[in-house]
């Protein structure tokens, strides 16, 4: 057991899986000698060498395209895209190839690969370095979309993703990399994909969040408990797609009220799918309209005004109070 931040926890997952499975290779820009922009791949090059930890030229399409080829042959590549905002340079490889090979070949070929990308705002960065684009990937059949919220589940989910036989997009929130340390067990822990975690129990309102918004949701829930006497249930999705509808619906059947929090813009975002799933599964339990607290429907603005667009505790509280009072 060691106290690790998210960077170290992810690094541990890669290290242990690479030791365990020789087919796991790491590829990306500056992931090797340099150890990665956020240092998630630190020391891997020293331990496993350039054959398994591959510094690619600046060419995202080639990183994903070659990884698909490697996976078709039987390797298990872990690709790093330096910021999720650069992944549109390789989106076609993810959408047209990684996600579809199993279906296109009727199961004769598949892509066991993970694409890791830092995402998210609130870190005083600029456009292309602050966005949340999970909705694009969550929308693609054949892909899984995973977003951890802390060091321990990040480690467990990355191991789970590496062992998953299908392609996984793995988002890491930049604001969480160094935010907190947690006890992470020494022995390998693999978390299953597709399962949400109820991180706070309550009967009055269900708040659904993931990534960096889990902390925001929990803080709001604590305030609502102490100031309003309302007990919120907080669900940490962990996997955005496939969505754990069962856990969400069961919770809303109990609370009758739901609020979704995410950093991606509102329209056609994950909140819409979650709300629709609640209506489908818990319609008769609903006592208030389902609310969404999200970024506005605008491209990410620079640091000067990012606090106004990334959802914060104040906005979640206001929306929760309206829902509770409905």
């Amino acid at each position: 057991m060691a106290k690790l931040n998210m960077v170290k926890a992810l690094n541990l997952a890669l290290l242990q899986e690479m030791e365990r499975d020789e087919d796991v290779v790491v590829i990306g820009e500056d992931v090797g000698v340099d150890g990665g922009v956020f240092r998630v791949t630190e020391d891997l090059h020293r331990k496993f060498g350039g054959k398994r930890v591959i510094d690619s030229p600046l060419a995202e399409s080639a990183i994903i395209g070659t990884s698909v080829g490697m996976a078709l042959y039987g390797l298990k590549p872990v690709c790093e895209i330096q910021f999720s905002g650069f992944a549109f340079q390789c989106f076609h490889q993810i959408e047209n190839h990684a996600a579809r090979y199993r279906m296109r070949t009727q199961g004769r070929f598949h892509c066991q690969m993970v694409v890791r990308m830092p995402y998210g705002g609130g870190v005083r960065a600029l456009e292309h370095h602050s966005e949340s684009e999970e909705q694009f990937y969550a929308h693609i059949p054949g892909l899984k979309m995973v977003i951890p919220s802390g060091p321990r589940n990040a480690r467990g989910l990355l191991v789970g993703a590496l062992r998953d036989p299908d392609p996984v997009i793995f988002f890491e929130h930049k604001a969480l990399y160094h935010a907190a340390k947690e006890d992470v067990p020494d022995e390998i822990e693999a978390l299953p994909l597709g399962r949400a975690d109820v991180v706070r129990h309550g009967r009055d309102l269900t708040i659904i969040a993931y990534g960096a918004m889990v902390r925001v949701a929990r803080e709001a829930a604590d305030t609502l408990a102490s100031e309003d006497g309302a007990e919120c249930e907080v669900i940490d999705l962990l996997t955005v797609s496939p969505l754990d509808r069962e856990t969400i619906v069961a919770s809303v059947q109990k609370t009758g009220r739901a609020l979704v929090v995410h950093e991606a813009p509102k329209s056609f975002g994950p909140g819409a799918e979650i709300a629709a799933s609640i209506v489908e599964g818990a319609f008769l339990s609903l006592e208030a309209p389902i609310r969404r607290v999200t970024a506005y429907d605008v491209p990410f603005v620079g640091f000067a005004r990012e606090r106004a667009t990334v959802p914060d505790v104040g906005r979640v509280l206001a929306a929760a109070r309206e829902t509770l009072a409905y």
Partner: protein, 335 residues
């Protein structure tokens, strides 16, 4: 055919005091601007990223000196110098870096997103390689309208392995676009050196396969840059021939302010050795020796530059933050 061997000088006027003053002044302005920006960044006044071009000023100054105001320039995220040289007001550039409402992009863009329509500066672009096809589109539109402008596109050695570099080279050759492609080869793309990223490290040679004139130039020599770009502009303006120029330069600072030393992937000795080729010192000495400028002229330029940049910082400091409502504007056309 590639024309590395072309030795003909551009039909440019000889250097005189006025031109020397402009070239030195532009380079010193960029240098001073960025030194002050680095200070402001350290004080937390600038958020996001800050990529300095200190050491590379001769490329922007030399290239822009042969452009007209209505010619287009488009660049990467390391674009302060290109934008200032093109004629943008340093006060508004600094305000943008500070995220203030009087900035070139209303404070909503930041250091990597400078645009100035008044001088046809088409912006900084943070997606490496992605602005090259845009530049080709501008070239296409110039031809379409029967205009005689040219379009200069700056990019780093890091853009060369991207597919879009090759797509744009091919298009510009195929469609005969009035382009000047300027690769600022500073030998590193973040921590990756040229040799680790490119099978062909003589970047100008990529122009050869597309059949466009292409050549390397000492990017630390502002007059050499001016000459090569001058010839390229003539070709582009008169017969729509694109050119690929590899300007060999060096960034004295790290990749960004978050990599201040830039010393993990390159040695201190290398950086110190390159600093001996400081484009500003080289040109200043040359200008004095040739009698284009006196010591007093140089001091006067320096004072003027310092005053302008102090003024720019004061302007940026005094400019308010963009109003919160601006978050929601400029998404679609508003009536």
């Amino acid at each position: 055919m590639a024309q590395k061997t072309e030795t003909k000088k551009a039909g440019l006027p000889a250097v005189d005091t006025e031109l020397a003053r402009r070239l030195l002044g532009d380079m010193m302005l960029i240098r001073r601007f960025e030194e002050k920006a680095a200070e402001a960044y350290a004080l937390g006044k600038i958020g996001g990223f800050l990529h300095l071009s200190i050491g590379e000023e001769a490329v922007a100054a030399g290239a822009t000196s042969v452009l007209r105001r209505d010619d287009y320039a488009i660049s990467t995220y390391r674009e302060h110098g290109h934008c200032l040289a093109k004629g943008a007001d340093p006060r508004r550039v600094m305000a943008e870096l500070f995220g203030r409402r009087d900035g070139l992009s209303k404070g909503k863009g930041g250091s990597m997103h400078l645009f100035d329509k008044s001088v046809n500066f088409l912006g900084g672009h943070a997606i490496v390689g992605a602005h090259l096809p845009l530049a080709a589109g501008v070239g296409f539109a110039i031809n379409y309208e029967g205009a005689d402008q040219v379009c200069v596109c700056y990019f780093g050695d890091g853009a060369v392995p991207q597919g879009e570099f090759h797509e744009a080279m091919n298009l510009s050759a195929l469609w005969k676009l009035p382009m000047i492609w300027i690769c600022e080869n500073n030998r590193y793309a973040m921590g990756t050196s040229l040799e680790r990223a490119l099978a062909q490290t003589e970047i100008w040679k990529f122009g050869e396969v597309y059949g466009i004139p292409s050549e390397p130039v000492d990017g630390m020599d502002v007059l050499a840059v001016r000459d090569v770009v001058g010839r390229a502009v003539e070709r582009a303006r008169t017969d729509k021939t694109p050119t690929l120029i590899e300007a060999r330069t060096y960034r004295f600072r790290g990749h960004s302010m978050r990599d201040p030393a830039g010393a993990v992937y390159r040695t201190k000795e290398e950086v110190e050795r390159e600093k001996l080729r400081d484009p500003i010192a080289l040109f200043r000495d040359k200008a004095i020796k040739a009698g284009w400028l006196s010591e007093a002229d140089v001091r006067a330029i320096e004072k003027d530059v310092n005053d302008r940049i102090d003024d720019a910082v004061a302007f940026a400091d005094a400019s308010p933050e963009p109003p919160v409502e601006w978050l929601l504007t400029d998404i679609y056309k508003e009536d």
